[in-house]
Point group: C2
Chain length 367, copies 2
Amino acid sequence: MSVVGVVGGGQLARMMIPAAINLGIELRVLAESDDSSARFAASQVGDFRNLEHLRTFSQGVDVLTFDHEHVPLEHLRVLREEGVDVFPPPEALALTQDKTVMRKALQGWDIPQPRWSVVTGADGSALDDVGGFPCIAKLPVGGYDGKGVMVAHSWGDIEQWLAVGPVLLEELVDFRRELAQLSARRPSGQWEPWLPVETVQEGGVCSIVKSPAGGLSSSARSEAARIARVVAESAGVVGVLAVELFEDSSGELLVNELAMRPHNSGHVFTEQSVTSQFEQHLRAVTDCPLGSTDFRHPSAAMVNVFGAAPYDAWARVAGEHPAAKLHSYQKAARPGRKAGHIVVTGVDGDTVEQDAISARDKYLGEI
Amino acid sequence: MSVVGVVGGGQLARMMIPAAINLGIELRVLAESDDSSARFAASQVGDFRNLEHLRTFSQGVDVLTFDHEHVPLEHLRVLREEGVDVFPPPEALALTQDKTVMRKALQGWDIPQPRWSVVTGADGSALDDVGGFPCIAKLPVGGYDGKGVMVAHSWGDIEQWLAVGPVLLEELVDFRRELAQLSARRPSGQWEPWLPVETVQEGGVCSIVKSPAGGLSSSARSEAARIARVVAESAGVVGVLAVELFEDSSGELLVNELAMRPHNSGHVFTEQSVTSQFEQHLRAVTDCPLGSTDFRHPSAAMVNVFGAAPYDAWARVAGEHPAAKLHSYQKAARPGRKAGHIVVTGVDGDTVEQDAISARDKYLGEI
């Protein structure tokens, strides 16, 4: 189990490379293009929707895993029948590809979540089920980073989506803040959580992560871990599982989204935890015992960098922020694109957050 | 300054790759063979003693640096004249290529070191200068990891060496223990040390590193830092400088060896320090402000793994050592070869050392 194939050459695959280098795992990446973020480990450029490309890529690979959740499940089932270990398995990935499938599964496992319904047209009863307008409307398939999600105030708002197919409606939760519970699970069953983090979104995209989430009671921490464990075990997740949560006005935790791979909300752990989410994912999918999720530093903050993250500009601001760690994804510059992130660790949560934000703002000013 | 060329494809070049990936530096490696430890970043396979190979490799590289100290200085001077930034510069590297040059330079800077002399044959006066037999005899050029070094008890012991050329004699220091002072320096002058570490050698090869060195007075810490700073500034070092020190029976620090690159004694900092020596080296040679050398954990221990360091064997012992971090160099197995290392960080120095040793011993039992 020492050759791991990653489908997708984005920043998540990129950040698996250091962990693979440390552990002595041979990492191969099926990248979308020659200039992918994970190009250093790209063994093939191909189309993840093409079974033949996937089949060629899987030759000599001990286990297949993912940078994203968009690989057609039917292809993964074929590969598995042909003897390739696929982690997370297609049955688990199904929950991340179709939000309706996720909602139904969570309901079956009695996991707290926002009220939801599926509509194919104007449907007063279904609307009542989610508390009426305004509510959240989602395309069940294909959304990411705020795309395919809107606050709907009327049927007219989702008219165009309804013309294409069913739309998932969700109660507009009056939440205090958003949290994420990261954990990892091995095929043999071992499961390890990190402490929950707080995520701050801007325009539907993660902007800041504070770790651990401050002021969380031990019962709330236990509940976050319980939810993640039920999902991981019930869905048969293998690898890192990110559970995005709303903390509502009464303190109850409700599942917003799931991801079955390293996740933006877990980037802080590379500096803060004994084991990064990238190392843990590789350990999990190769069924190696999981590493400690203890923290090296009591507090950490991560801020995303959008647009571009060049090193030369970093060198102009790094002197003022010696504790700040840059992670550049070396992607072609594009407005609004996640291009990198900065992590600061330390003792006091507010201090590290301010340092990270200040470093980012000065950095953006130099790009 | 975002394309860094590394001459040599050993584990030090390998461990620069994660740091380069994080910072968004393009790392290129001139490797000795297709299966070098740093093969993921190898852009060329060639001979570091061949000027044409070096010249081809340097095309498009912003700065040239090193995995080892064996590149002919005359080649580096030519490349520099042709416009390539070479860090550390050849004048500094000269001290690491010829131990006699180093001893003379340290003497000129009034740095404490063992008494020494150079002999070309049996020379009673030179022998008296180092306190007589037994003394340490060294080949001035080409030794490493205990090779080219011996305890000489008579002229007969070094007869074969003397037939080839001059031999460096050094006083046999009655030392309590060995320490290493790591630091880094930028071309623009910024210099940052880590705390001194203790190194334990077996058969002339580093076996264990304890960080920080325990029971060191603040004046001894200051003296170690002072020595490193004088060497770095006087020699014009750019990049990481490792100063290996004897702590003699009276507590005085004497310089044993120098290395101008990331060094085995600094591997602990990858887990323990806010900035690893590999990241610091890349920052230094690209003249980026240096990162914080603060510790995330008060104590760390590193143990080397010799022979081989396969991942599958690690998976059989990792469950008992969740805090232990493996670094495999993915080298072909060879008895006695440095094949990897294990780091454990924590609060108590003895505890982390015992955990690291125990993890290594169980690991070796599984290989």
